[in-house]
């Protein structure tokens, strides 16, 4: 890992003036901190992916298959048929530049190839050459170029410097979505065996073991038992979360990040406490023990292979519907892909909250409900008792995760929940929240150590907005509904706004939740004294 410069030094390097040379003449540069390690061949073998081998982006020879140009040509052609989005997005960009300064990686790095328009041009220039008559005849005059190994290297660098957050697509007058372009770019790269380990290891783990982190069933149970002990210590209430329970009403699926590391674990404890208090008839699964889906960052096929477990397990256990935890890209998959890929889920029932009778009509086909939709419903019906003063030491702001924002539109539900359990809540500036929200800088499989410099750069717009509310209102807690956020924000905050901590929404819920049979609470879920109990 490269040494990370101080935040001031880093900020001073940002220059939005592009170089004089045309972008086609600028070679990709693999500087430490700006690229992720390639996939370990064993992970490719688990997934039956092509060309498993040891290689490094800094090598001259990337050990591509002999007919790599043909593979890319055929792969591109195939995808142009399969995705109208790709074909239309290749054809209609007018390079108006509206997207240019919307990307967090561009804002934080000034690298012009991080302007969404140029990121797409990396692919478009090849498309023009190979698939349009005008491009073939006019060559560089029409913005086309030949496919060389350097182009492939450039793709690898920049398609793994995009977190597929879709902020640019919001501002594009034609809705051109760079996430879609990056996804196609990564699919093509995958055909040559060019992938990053931080994506492929979770994919392989999820496929083989059941979750990204490769936690086997018995360890999963141990972790849950530990958490139950912590819950009992804090609240005096003994919770017993069911695993693989047949005939339960609800299957609960959450990202494995929630039961792996702080502060996600506190969110996970929050879910368990909430479900216990409700007496919910639910189960978790050790087979479908992952809500997230790094397949989304690999290929449509990988995404489908991983996602299939959730419905399969729901069917095996005979549940009525599925509840999903706090996760960002997981909800893009559920909202925009799951039913299409692996449905119809006709063996499930339209989700109905057993405590309020509310029917979740907006999930009537996919049969999967977001935990904040569920909790907001409980709160509206007055089912839960809260003591928000237990969160009084916290001045909270809320980060809208990219995917639930721009691929779903989940804005009010989490806010309703937070406002019911916290007394001090402040929004960040409007250009940085809701549909205009900024990525954490580490999405789409880029939250690895070796990519740290780009993560700090890409996270700068988000951190800067947090700093604004920290300075203005004294905000000291950044809440979010995404497991990657909970993993990525602590180092980001440490770097840019060290006074701000990170939590999930259901950690706040459980802190404020007054449970039946609980002892007088002295500690929050982090085993720190509650406000007024510091003595």
């Amino acid at each position: 890992m490269s040494k990370l410069p101080s935040s001031d030094t880093l900020a001073a390097t940002i220059d939005y003036h592009p170089p004089r040379k045309s972008w086609m003449q600028v070679q990709p540069e693999f500087r430490p901190g700006t690229w992720s390690y390639p996939a370990n061949p064993k992970n490719l073998k688990i997934m039956d992916f092509p060309n498993p081998r040891e290689w490094s982006p800094t090598d001259d020879d990337w050990k591509l298959p002999e007919n790599w140009q043909e593979i890319i040509y055929e792969g591109f052609k195939d995808r142009l048929k399969k995705y109208r989005s790709l074909k239309v997005f290749m054809d209609i960009c007018v390079r108006c530049g509206a997207c240019a300064d919307k990307c967090h990686y561009f804002i934080g790095s000034g690298d012009p190839k991080n302007m969404p328009v140029l990121r797409a041009e990396l692919l478009r220039s090849i498309y023009r050459k190979d698939f349009t008559t005008v491009g073939k005849i006019l060559c560089s005059l029409s913005g086309s170029r030949s496919l060389t190994e350097d182009v492939i290297k450039e793709w690898f660098l920049y398609f793994y410097q995009c977190s597929e957050c879709r902020r640019c697509s919001l501002f594009c007058p034609y809705g051109i979505d760079t996430a879609e372009v990056t996804m196609m770019g990564r699919e093509l790269l995958n055909l040559l065996g060019l992938n990053i380990n931080w994506v492929m290891e979770p994919v392989a783990n999820c496929f083989r073991v059941g979750n990204h982190l490769g936690i086997p069933p018995h360890t999963f149970k141990e972790i849950v038992d530990f958490m139950c002990e912590d819950i009992e210590e804090v609240s005096g209430v003994k919770v017993e979360p069911p695993l693989n329970k047949k005939g339960a009403e609800i299957l609960f699926v959450t990202p494995s990040g929630d039961y792996f590391a702080d502060p996600g674990t506190y969110t996970f404890m929050g879910y368990l406490m909430l479900f216990h208090e409700l007496g919910l008839d639910y189960t978790m699964s050790t087979y479908a023990s992952e809500g997230g889906n790094f397949g989304l960052f690999t290929s449509a096929e990988a995404m489908k292979r991983l996602n299939a477990k959730i419905y399969a397990e729901a069917k095996r256990l005979g549940v009525k519907w599925i509840l999903g935890g706090e996760c960002g890209h997981m909800w893009r998959v559920i909202n925009q892909y799951m039913d299409t890929m692996n449905g119809p889920a006709d063996f499930l029932e339209v989700p109905r909250n057993p405590l309020t009778g509310t029917v979740f009509n907006n999930a009537r086909a996919t049969k999967m409900v977001h935990i904040t939709e569920f909790t907001d419903d409980l709160i509206q019906h007055g089912i839960l008792n809260f003591d928000p003063s237990r969160n009084d030491d916290l001045v909270v702001t809320y980060h809208d995760s990219c995917n639930p924002s721009r691929a779903m539109g989940l804005f009010e539900e989490p806010r309703n929940v937070i406002k019911s359990v916290c007394n001090h809540f402040y929004e960040m500036p409007i250009q940085t929240i809701r549909e205009q929200t900024f990525c954490c800088g580490s999405g789409s499989g880029l939250n690895n150590e070796e990519f740290m410099e780009m993560r700090m750069r890409g996270g700068m717009p988000r951190a800067n907005a947090v700093k604004h509310v920290h300075d203005t209102y004294g905000v000291n807690m950044l809440s979010c509904i995404c497991a990657i956020d909970r993993a990525a924000f602590p180092p980001l905050m440490e770097y840019w706004v060290p006074e701000v901590d990170v939590c999930g929404v259901h950690e706040l819920v459980a802190n404020a939740l007054v449970m039946r049979g609980e002892k007088e609470r002295e500690l929050n879920l982090r085993s720190e004294p509650l406000p007024g109990k510091e003595g």
Binding site: Y16, H17, W23, D48, K81, K82, Y83, R84, S85, K87, V88, D91, V94, R95, G97, A98, D101, M115, V117, T133, V134, L141, S142, G143, S169, L170, F171, P173, Y174, G175, F207, P216, P217, H218, L243, Y287, K304, A308, K309, A312, E313, R316, N335, Q336, D339, T340, G343, N362, A363, R364, A365, T366, E373, D376, D377, A407, M408, G409, E412, P461
Partner: protein
């Protein structure tokens, strides 16, 4: 350089009719053959491109949601920015196509010391783009008076409206001023903003110069180099009634105008100008965000290799039993 190449090509496109229709006097070629060929290429090309897009599948509903989803009764959903119904989509598309709603959101980032980022409003691009497209559209409709006899009332009204200021002889059209100003703005931002200059291709400057040439030749014809308008109308009516004639007294400037328009028609279907058709087919805008409510079918969905529960349990059965986790097979 890209701008220069484009300018040279457009200048060449001006010289061709000057020589061909002017010096050489090939009026039939430039007055009849070229416009007919151009029109046919445009129509067939446009249809081909749209049909070609249409042949590609739409596997998933990848709507960009720009507002609150349809949710509980107590949550107001954003029917326009996050449509869950076809009507919502239609409305969203209308606003997108006619008013450039997404572009209206535009902001401009500024990085100050601190570091401190701010996001200022940046509506000039929206205004420039709207002024250009609206003017172009009105000018196009206004030209229908050359292709209809008698000229229907709406076209006459539009003409009156466009010249409402009653300045000059012949009266000045507002859209002429607007489109020239907009073209100038769209060109200048490409060369002045370093980011824009960096991303601009020859194919970005070329249509700007070409349309500039069309407008300039039109303006010249109307105000400075007088053309026999009766003769022009006779000729355009001849074209539209498939009974082409070449009247006397048509100045070469008209042939320049006509040739540049023909060039635009031929260029259009094979260029980025196809955003006119493509905007309607953009899956992030023209689909409802309802794939959790209604099943969307992917025409090429195929079975994939999964790790089944049975295979998985075989691997972990002993450990699971030891941990007290229920298993299928004892």
């Amino acid at each position: 350089m890209n701008a220069l190449y484009s300018l040279i090509i457009v200048l060449a496109l001006v010289v061709i009719p000057l020589l061909g229709a002017g010096a050489a006097g090939w009026h039939t070629l430039f007055g009849i053959a070229v416009p007919y060929i151009a029109f046919v290429v445009f129509v067939l090309g446009f249809i081909y491109r749209v049909v070609d897009w249409g042949r590609s599948a739409v596997p998933f509903r990848i709507t960009t949601t720009a507002g609150q989803q349809e949710s509980h009764a107590w949550i107001k959903s954003s029917k326009l920015d996050n449509p869950s119904t076809t009507w919502g989509v239609v409305l969203r598309m209308i606003l997108e196509v006619l008013l450039f709603r997404s572009l209206f959101r535009n902001t401009r980032v500024q990085l100050k010391d601190g570091p401190k980022l701010s996001y200022g409003s940046a509506k000039w691009l929206w205004l420039g783009a709207l002024a250009f497209h609206a003017s172009f559209f009105i000018i196009l409709i206004r030209h229908m008076r050359f292709f209809t006899e008698p000229v229907p009332l709406p076209f006459q009204w539009l003409d009156k409206l466009d010249s409402i200021l009653q300045v000059g002889v012949p009266v000045l059209y507002l859209t002429e001023v607007a489109i020239l100003a907009a073209l100038l703005y769209l060109f200048l931002r490409r060369v002045i903003d370093p980011k824009m200059r960096y991303i601009s291709l020859a194919s970005d400057y070329f249509p700007l110069f070409l349309i500039f040439g069309i407008v300039i030749s039109g303006v010249l014809m109307r105000y400075f180099i007088r053309t026999d308008i009766i003769a022009v109308k006779e000729m355009t009516m001849g074209l539209v009634t498939l009974n082409p004639t070449i009247p006397e007294n048509i100045g070469v400037i008209f042939y320049v105008h006509l040739f540049l328009v023909s060039a635009l028609l031929v260029y259009f279907p094979w260029s980025k100008l196809m955003h006119l058709g493509g905007v309607f087919l953009s899956p992030t805008r023209n689909l409802a965000n309802n794939s959790r409510m209604q099943r969307h079918i992917n025409p090429w969905n195929y079975p994939v290799k999964v790790h089944t529960y049975e295979e998985w349990e075989d691997h972990y059965r002993d450990a699971m039993k030891e941990a007290g986790i229920p298993v299928e097979k004892e």
